[in-house]
Symmetry: C2
């Protein structure tokens, strides 16, 4: 399936990400439908003109009519949905997702899925500190990464379609990784950083610190404001990779502590120069 505007797209889970998908895709002229929990989300999206139809029920006409179904749900809800409702999908439908962890759901879903439907997993690396379709934006994906994580079960056509979807959505960098590579990378770049931020934010309850806070502390704790339901699930779903990254971080932190304790200025300066050089790689291009 090539993504052309005659295709019908269904978004299951109309929150920040699902709503932002709808906003961008509607502009291209696709027929967009949505299934979500809250009637207020459907009404908001209809009023904004970013969906053509929507329901809080398992509307068989909507689900059965969709050529491309995008699941923007929590990992375990996504798995449950497929188990319970995949019978409603159209034969030949392509399904994809936005889940931030891959190994723990990709194989589970591909293994249980009907053979006349294909699941091509993807992770749009975009988000905000706020949630809900009311905060969705068609600018959310500019500058961000979209990663497709195909397995041996995927067809070249589905991979191509999913990459094309990422480009249509406006992601600046659209690429593929294996589920394993993805989960290691996300364990380091995203999950470990959230672990550090919430630890820093909770390790010292001394009062009045906020009066003296400068930009560096604020930068390191911006993501300490966190959706506890979602992130605890994502951490557990990537447990082995994240534990491994936490251990790598802790080992290096202990090295630095030992340098400080022994006042080994040369070793500290070497580590700082390494840090400075490596950070230059990560500047926004």
């Amino acid at each position: 399936m090539i993504v052309d505007v005659s295709k019908k797209i269904l978004i299951v889970g109309l929150g920040l990400l699902g709503g932002s998908y709808a906003r961008v895709l509607k502009r291209f002229g696709f027929h967009i439908s949505a299934i979500t929990k809250e009637q207020s989300s459907i009404e908001y999206a209809l009023n904004e003109g970013i969906i053509d139809e929507g329901s809080t029920d398992l509307d068989e006409k909507i689900i059965g009519g969709a050529d491309l179904v995008i699941f923007a749900l929590y990992p375990h809800v996504f798995v449950e949905w497929i188990k319970d409702n995949q019978k409603l999908l159209k034969s030949g439908a392509l399904i994809t997702d936005v889940t931030g962890v891959k190994r723990s759901i990709v194989y589970k879903i591909q293994d249980m899925l009907r053979t006349d439907v294909e699941f091509i997993p993807a992770h749009p690396m975009a988000g905000r500190e706020v949630s809900g379709v009311e905060n969705s934006s068609d600018k959310l994906f500019s500058g961000a990464n979209y990663i497709v994580t195909p397995t041996e079960k995927n067809t070249p056509e589905a991979i191509t379609t999913c990459l094309e979807l990422g480009r249509l959505l406006g992601f600046s960098n659209v690429t593929t990784l294996s589920p394993q590579e993805h989960d290691e990378m996300i364990g380091f770049l995203s999950q470990l950083t959230h672990c550090i931020a919430i630890t820093l934010m909770t390790c010292n309850d001394k009062e009045n610190m906020e009066k003296f806070t400068g930009d560096s502390f604020r930068d390191l704790t911006r993501i300490a404001r966190i959706n506890d339901l979602m992130w605890s699930e994502l951490f557990v779903a990537n447990k082995d990779a994240l534990l491994n990254q936490m251990d790598m971080f802790m080992d290096k932190f202990k090295e630095l502590r030992a340098m400080l304790e022994s006042e080994d200025i040369d070793a500290m300066r070497k580590m700082m120069r390494h840090s400075t050089e490596r950070r230059a790689l990560f500047d926004k291009k």
Copy 2:
């Protein structure tokens, strides 16, 4: 001494901070002089009109003429300067500084200082990733904290003058702390955050990570680009307080690791809610 514009101000060390002091104070009409290492810094500042005179030598007329002397030097250079050159200071001069650690220099300097000169310590909590007078700015202090850390040896008049200087410079929050309180606070809010950033930046050398880096990793590592000479000295100068903060952080990080390993979702969610609530306190007002 009350800061009025008939007073002559000398800045020793004309870098980013010293230059920014000069920029702001010159605007009020003070006579500003500078002693610094590089002739090019003096020439730049004269051309910009932010100092009236300057020298790379220990110019006795300049030093002996100053009513207020601001030391913007590395901690050990500051201590050496006072030891070697305090004889050149005018009787009755008030001296202050910009040093980011306090206990390790404040008592040393106050103990060795001539009795007809007073040292009132201060820490302007402002900086950038770049250095040098060429990067100085009269906007550097807006939104930032200025902390005076008096001891029993200081006179009320000197404390008042130093607080007034902080307000003149344009700091948004001007306050006092004891040297001990200051060093604990800075160990947590500034030094620990730098330790975390350089650790995160150096703990995983896997290639191509930068291709997938999002805002959260960039935020946590912005300060991983670090002046190794200055920060290694500051770390060692505040060693006990920083080691203590590093241990508090590590203990909490290990707690989180244990929650993840045992998949204790409830405990993780509780920690995340605590983090979210506490972070709200630290929002920019």
